[in-house]
Symmetry: C2
Subunit: 197 residues, 2 copies
């Protein structure tokens, strides 16, 4: 069996997994799942992932795994996408957990609301404030360093670019974050993403 | 130098780090930081952790690390708190990311609001719904298994117990989740937490 990725092509969390698989040269089957119409809540899907979320993968041995960043770590184990140095590996984990806790819940949520028809002024002010705080934190780091961890491309870049590059679709003004924009171009080039996915 | 933990003793995210250090027999200094009065936003603190959050640790080599689950992974590297088997290690990561994305933001946030004086009925209904969904997912798993990963105690249990054992302080009715209650007793015994911290 090959790797099977259950994903919604509009979801940055799902695209991360696709990009990592491609970067690593892994063959995979993509099964499109519409996260908005309840497909992730169907009994067969909940057997794969009781949390009812995409991405979920079925590994070549038939076992399932969920949570985008856990999947990235599994697929990239032993490769140069994970720093060999213990401290820098831990700093990569720091960015990965921060992404799920303090970045994705605001930037992806704002985008999701606008994709469903909300306008920028309908967005909750606290959501926008926290999303901008996340982008500002990235800007501060990326003003000094080319990548998020140890000056090298890693899973942290793959994870963080997923929603950062789409932040404007959630009403965020990326032109306020020039170092983030330069980093987006750099990481898109690394991943061969010449046009928005 | 020994390990220094900057933490707020009321924060489950900070207590996780304390419990892991104690379980691992690591000497540490605890520096109490009041997360509510702006101490984590002071310039000296932001130098340690630009995200302005506790817990933050300074490792014995003088370098800083943040994000509770990243700290747990760093401290426990190479110990039996992390499964040696690659699949189960990845399943542990799955719970750790899920905790930061789908559990802590609701259960800890509800508790924080009630600690600041909100009553249960003041809580946002969606926050309560998502917190209950997280507890229900744990209940389903723990009805069948004694621990979260591979039938053994791991970092996933340390991470998830932090706010789960305090969920009632956020208005959640833990008696609806009997398997979770049995697991709380089991993990508290593992960690030597005989009284609520």
């Amino acid at each position: 069996m090959t790797l099977t990725i259950y994903g919604d092509h509009r979801s940055g969390n799902c695209l991360k997994v696709k990009w990592a698989a491609e970067r690593l040269g892994l063959a995979y089957d993509w099964i499109e799942v519409d996260a908005r119409d309840g497909e992730t809540r169907s009994p067969p899907f909940l057997k794969l992932n009781p949390a009812g979320q995409v991405p979920t993968v079925v590994l070549p041995d038939g076992r399932a795994l969920a949570q985008s960043n856990a999947i990235l770590l599994h697929l990239a184990a032993g490769t140069d996408l994970i720093p060999a140095d213990p401290y820098w590996r831990s700093k990569m984990f720091e960015w990965l957990f921060w992404e799920q806790h303090s970045h994705e819940p605001y930037i992806a949520a704002a985008r999701r609301q606008m994709m469903r028809g909300a306008s920028k002024k309908d967005l909750d002010a606290e959501l926008v404030r926290r999303g901008d705080a996340a982008l500002a934190r990235m800007e501060a780091w990326l003003s000094a360093y080319p990548y998020l961890v140890d000056g090298r491309f890693s899973l942290a870049d793959i994870s963080l670019i997923a929603y950062t590059r789409l932040a404007h679709e959630g009403g965020f003004d990326l032109t306020k974050y020039p170092a983030v924009c330069v980093w987006i171009d750099r990481v898109e080039a690394e991943l061969g993403l010449t046009v928005p996915a």
